[in-house]
């Protein structure tokens, strides 16, 4: 059988990913995680001395803490299998990427293992997050300077 013929056969046999179902699951699980995040944020604003602008940091820390617990219990990967991007895109997904790498590489020691591999998966998120934040800020600065929008 020729390569092209086989690739045709492969296309016919392989089930198409259920995009619509995946998108729906990601939407609802992702939305649910964000709703929890919103509740945590309100909690810090109501019970502590945080404003909408400053509640972000403790909220992120709390959400990553939840992700850590779920990852340690082996539950986050199950949520991930169900929700796909729904649990990968929120900050809990970032926490899961960092913590799963830390657990995985514990056997190689704290410095070379955990330290060296902590950002193995999340490193590119940090890098491109910082780079895109820079460009977004730059664009906004230009727009403010020429008077299109204000800070």
């Amino acid at each position: 059988m020729e390569k092209e013929q086989y690739q045709q056969l492969e296309q016919n046999v392989t089930p198409k990913p259920p995009y619509l179902k995946n998108v729906a699951k990601a939407f609802f699980v992702g939305g649910f995680i964000c709703a929890i995040g919103q509740a945590v944020s309100l909690f810090y604003m109501i019970f502590f001395n945080f404003t909408e602008a400053t509640a972000g940091n403790p909220t992120v820390a709390t959400m990553v803490f939840f992700a850590m617990i779920l990852t340690g219990l082996g539950l986050y990967k199950r949520i991930g299998q169900f929700a796909g991007a729904g649990s990968a895109v929120p900050v809990t997904g970032f926490g899961n990427a960092v913590i799963s790498a830390a657990i995985e590489h514990r056997s190689e020691g704290v410095v070379l293992g955990v330290g060296g591999n902590l950002f193995k998966l999340a490193g590119s998120v940090v890098l491109f997050g910082v780079v895109s934040a820079f460009f977004v800020a730059l664009i906004k600065y230009i727009l403010v300077t020429i008077g299109v929008v204000s800070w």
Binding site: Q7, L9, V13, T14, P15, K77, N96, S100
Partner: protein
């Protein structure tokens, strides 16, 4: 490509041990031991992997009442970097050893080498097999175990199991190896590491075709043609290739796949099982026992292996695959 063994070396015994999740395997009743701890009470997954290999070898030797000192050669491999679990097991077993890497096809390539040594008169007993341990292989090829990435339906689950066979000179009352085919490295341009069945199916097809042609056989000459770890989709593709080649569907009922059947119809495992331990565990427990019981008289075992690495995948290479086959008969 086909080697015919005049002396017909025998598969005297098999030793198969598996991890806790493999309790859910339809083949688990045939395994020698299924452990509750996937690390075998060791500190790391890799040490547990090593321990598993040692125990599989010990089970095989115990069945023939022989000791490490009686075994001339150990042939085997796994999927961890530089194959340290097998190398370290060889250190503890203290048997002259060559590590072999044919990815998941090592379960058969090792048997072929052991048969050649037996045929040559160099070995009375040799151990051959392969193994995989889920955690240590996943971290090698994919993500950390607890990383929440979604696996597609085409993905397969790496089993935790070690299977080793004890090979010796021909004995009537044991399954014997009549011939073997060493497969080529086949690349049909598949590049998805989460769809290994599709990458490996053409290799299995070519090896089976070559074996049948050169042995002047048809599929129906066999009671069972069992591939290693194509998974449900890979098996479908393999059958599809045979159908396109003019083979009738009803002739393909004896064409089965260990990986497709390993975990039954459990959807948690997507397309089925994979890993060097998958084919080794099924071949050296279920198949050998069925042959000794007389259920199968002529069997073709075709172990399939995807010869990729995380590096080759990231560099955008396609996935070359191989398949090695042994023809086993029972009087």
């Amino acid at each position: 490509m086909v080697i015919v063994f005049q002396s017909k070396p025998s598969l005297l015994a098999g030793g198969v041990v598996a991890g806790p999740l493999e309790n859910r395997s339809v083949f688990s009743q045939y395994f020698d031991a299924v452990y509750d701890d996937e690390r075998w009470q060791m500190k790391t997954n890799e040490q547990g992997h090593r321990k598993m290999i040692e125990e599989a070898c010990e089970f095989a030797m115990k069945k023939m009442n022989i000791q490490n000192g009686d075994v001339e050669y150990l042939m085997g491999g796994d999927l961890v970097n530089q194959m340290t679990p097998t190398n370290f097991a060889a250190r503890d077993l203290a048997i002259p050893f060559i590590g072999l890497f044919s990815a998941c096809a090592t379960s058969v390539s090792s048997v072929i080498i052991a048969c050649l040594l037996t045929e040559l008169g160099a070995a009375n007993f040799s151990l051959a097999g392969a193994s995989s341990q889920h955690n240590s292989i996943e971290r090698q090829f994919r993500y950390p175990i607890n990383y929440g990435a979604q696996k597609p339906q085409t993905a397969q689950w790496t089993v935790t199991a070690a299977g080793y066979a004890l090979i010796g000179k021909h004995r009537e009352e044991y399954p014997s190896i009549e011939a073997a085919t060493i497969g080529k490295s086949i690349d049909y341009g598949m590049d998805d590491p989460f769809h290994m069945g599709a990458a490996m199916a053409p290799a299995a097809f070519q090896t089976i075709q070559a074996h049948l042609e050169q042995r002047n056989q048809k599929i129906y000459h066999y009671d069972l043609i069992l591939t290693g770890d194509l998974g449900q989709l890979g098996l479908k593709l393999l059958k599809g290739m045979f159908v396109e080649n003019g083979v009738k569907n009803e002739e393909l009922t004896f064409l089965r796949d260990a990986g497709a059947e390993f975990y039954g119809q459990d959807e948690a495992f997507q397309s089925g099982a994979s890993g060097a331990g998958c084919s080794a565990a099924v071949f050296f427990s279920y198949v050998l026992q069925q042959m000794r019981a007389g259920s199968y008289k002529r069997v073709l075992l075709v172990a399939t292996g995807a010869l990729l690495s995380p590096l080759s995948y990231q560099q955008g290479e396609t996935i070359p695959c191989t398949a090695h086959a042994i023809e086993i008969t029972m009087k």
